[in-house]
């Protein structure tokens, strides 16, 4: 374990906090938690890529960052239009 992987573990633990907000709080609060969780997860992958010196994890981080944005926008649009 190097410092990069320890940082990844720390950020991974934070996903639990954000998951708790998404589960226990109202819908819009959950969307905000989802947005931050997407960034957090992408950072975890980037840190794992650097800590293990493996490129594919960095690719995953990029794809997750992009897809997280798209998914969050979809949820926001849904929340806005909900009667």
């Amino acid at each position: 374990m190097n410092e990069w992987l320890w940082a990844a573990v720390a950020l991974l633990a934070l996903l639990g906090v954000l998951g708790a907000v998404a589960v226990r709080r109202p819908f819009l609060d959950g969307i905000v938690a989802l947005e931050v969780a997407g960034i957090d997860a992408a950072l975890v992958l980037l840190l794992v890529a650097e800590g293990t010196h493996r490129q594919p994890f960095a690719d995953l981080a990029l794809v997750l960052g992009a897809m997280s944005f798209v998914g969050s926008v979809a949820f926001v649009r849904f929340a806005e239009q909900e009667p």
Partner: protein, 97 residues
């Protein structure tokens, strides 16, 4: 320990600290708008971590990807925050009516 190692350590600690503060802020705030403020802190944390990777690896493959991730988050985060804030206001307006 070189200057580069110190810079990487500072950026990494700063990035992780900011991300921890962002996640705790989202967890502890009471309303959705208050939680939304911490997405900006998360963006800054991402920039610091990406900068740490870039300083460590320079413009290698993984350094370029870290740079791309930082650029992506920098562009999409404000767009997402604005869209979310608009949705929160729309929902709150419906609830108040």
């Amino acid at each position: 320990m070189t200057v580069r190692d110190v810079a990487v350590a500072v950026l990494l600690v700063a990035g992780v600290t900011l991300q921890v503060l962002a996640c705790l802020g989202v967890g502890l705030m009471r309303t959705a708008l208050e939680r939304l403020h911490f997405s900006g802190v998360s963006t800054l944390g991402t920039l610091c971590v990406a900068a740490a990777v870039l300083v460590r690896e320079s413009f290698s493959l993984i350094g370029d990807k870290a740079l791309l991730l930082a650029a992506l988050v920098l562009v999409t985060s404000p767009v997402l925050a604005q869209a979310t804030a608009r949705a929160i206001h729309a929902v709150q307006g419906r609830d108040d009516a």
